[in-house]
Amino acid sequence: MIEFRDVHKHFGQLHVLRGIDLSLSEREVVVVIGPSGSGKSTMIRTINRLEPIDSGSLVVDGLRVHEKNVDVNRLRRDVGMVFQSFNLFPHLTAAENIMLAPMRARGLSRRESRERAERLLAKVGIPEKADVHPARLSGGQQQRVAIARALAMEPKIMLFDEPTSALDAEMIREVLDVMRQLASEGMTMVVITHEVGFAREASNRVVFMDEGRIIEDSPTATFFERPREERARQFLSKVIKH
């Protein structure tokens, strides 16, 4: 479903991705962890071409993402993304946030989109918030709307870039619950998170990144019981203590 081959990326002088090799099959849930500045975020953002790459190849759902003639908008319709800072559209209600892309990019009618929005809001547990603007929602509710918004395009892959890092402890759970449910329904997911509990329960594999490289790529159980790499071990001991 997703295949990185020797992917490199620079930000000016900074070499942020130093030869990423990674492959994901359908229905797989991969958690990416690593210290800040390790390139996790950049890596996930290359999957829907929010960040261009300098060299290497990246194939997503059969599409060579970084080739010139690729229809990026088509690619992005099939790859949902959830951001750390939610990025809901503040001038639209929760339902309108969800309806926008299906109406404009998929050509659904207003009625169909509205039905879809209501169904998804029920799925993420806030059906009563359809006509509320984001400013009146809690962080956890906003992030759940953002997930519903991404799901409304019926994507084949979902990307999560630290979806709970901006949330208070009590709201983290409600968001993780939604993500857990998605994982159990067989969604292909790439999740950057430090939520060890979520990683243990919901993911098939854990990828540990540091300094632009993938240091370790192991099945979840193996990673948490006996991480191969010293750096991963150190990082884990720090994260789990918190």
Binding site: N87, F89, R104, A105
Partner: protein, 254 residues
């Protein structure tokens, strides 16, 4: 020295005061006010459309659109409005003859609108650009990540928010335009100040008339600025508002 002599010594002419009881004088002022407001509204409407296009041009990723837009905006902003108005007043007709035929005569009203709009659109372009840039990057990213195209993102996500942020700045610009319509009198448009001049050159009482004209400008602009304060609604994030203000200040300094 009695009071009449005192006033006359200061340039006032009490003997002309009865004329201000004549409704005809006020109808005359009224025509000026109507012309001033009409020119301002039309000029701002034209400038808004042109300014929006210029702002988008300046933000374009395509160099052959961006560079001409920057050059246009920066050079127009560096010219006095009066120069543009006079130019269209003199050359406006011949400028449009290739399009509208050899007998075309550009009405003075439209020459004034064009001069004012040309300058104002360049200023509005900068205000609109600041409004767009003040939105968090995440808004564009989220829209693009959903598969919306660049124009769709502008139309449905960026502009509705940016334009709302800019309402106060645009109201402020409207008051500037209202004051600048006084320049259009130089090419023979009978706006408020020009009407006043017509009156005082007949009655030799410029101080009285100019005081009245000043008061009318003041009332119009004061009401507008109060309105725009109401419209701020506290909705715009503070930071965005400050960024837009910076552009305005820079403009006033220029």
């Amino acid at each position: 020295m009695d009071i009449t002599e005192f006033l006359q010594a200061h340039g006032l002419r009490p003997s002309t005061w009865p004329m201000f009881a004549d409704p005809a004088i006020w109808r005359f002022f009224g025509e000026g006010i109507r012309e001033t407001l009409l020119i301002s509204v039309v000029a701002v409407a034209v400038s808004f459309v042109a300014g929006l296009l210029l702002a988008l041009g300046r933000l374009s990723t395509r160099r052959w659109i961006r560079w001409p837009s920057i050059a246009w905006i920066e050079s127009i902003r560096a010219l006095p409005v009066l120069l543009l108005i006079v130019y269209f007043g003199i050359k406006g007709s011949s400028l449009f003859r290739p399009i509208f035929g050899p007998d075309f005569d550009l009405p003075r009203f439209w020459a004034g609108v064009l001069g004012l709009s040309m300058y104002t659109s360049a200023v509005l372009a900068e205000i609109i650009r600041a409004g767009i840039l003040s939105l968090p990057r995440g808004q564009t990213e989220a829209a693009r990540a959903l598969g919306l195209s660049h124009p769709q993102t502008l139309r449905h996500v960026i502009l509705p928010q940016a334009l709302r942020l800019m309402v106060p700045a645009m109201m402020a610009q409207l008051t500037t335009v209202i004051k600048d319509t006084s320049l259009v009198g130089t090419i023979g448009v009978f706006e408020l100040l020009r009407q006043g001049r017509t009156i005082y050159t007949q009655f030799f009482n410029p101080i009285e008339v100019l005081l009245i004209v000043a008061f009318i400008y003041f009332v119009i602009c004061f009401v507008l600025s109060q309105l725009s304060r109401r419209l701020e609604l506290g909705r715009a994030p503070r930071l965005a508002r400050i960024k837009i203000q910076e552009v305005q200040l820079r403009d006033q300094a220029a």
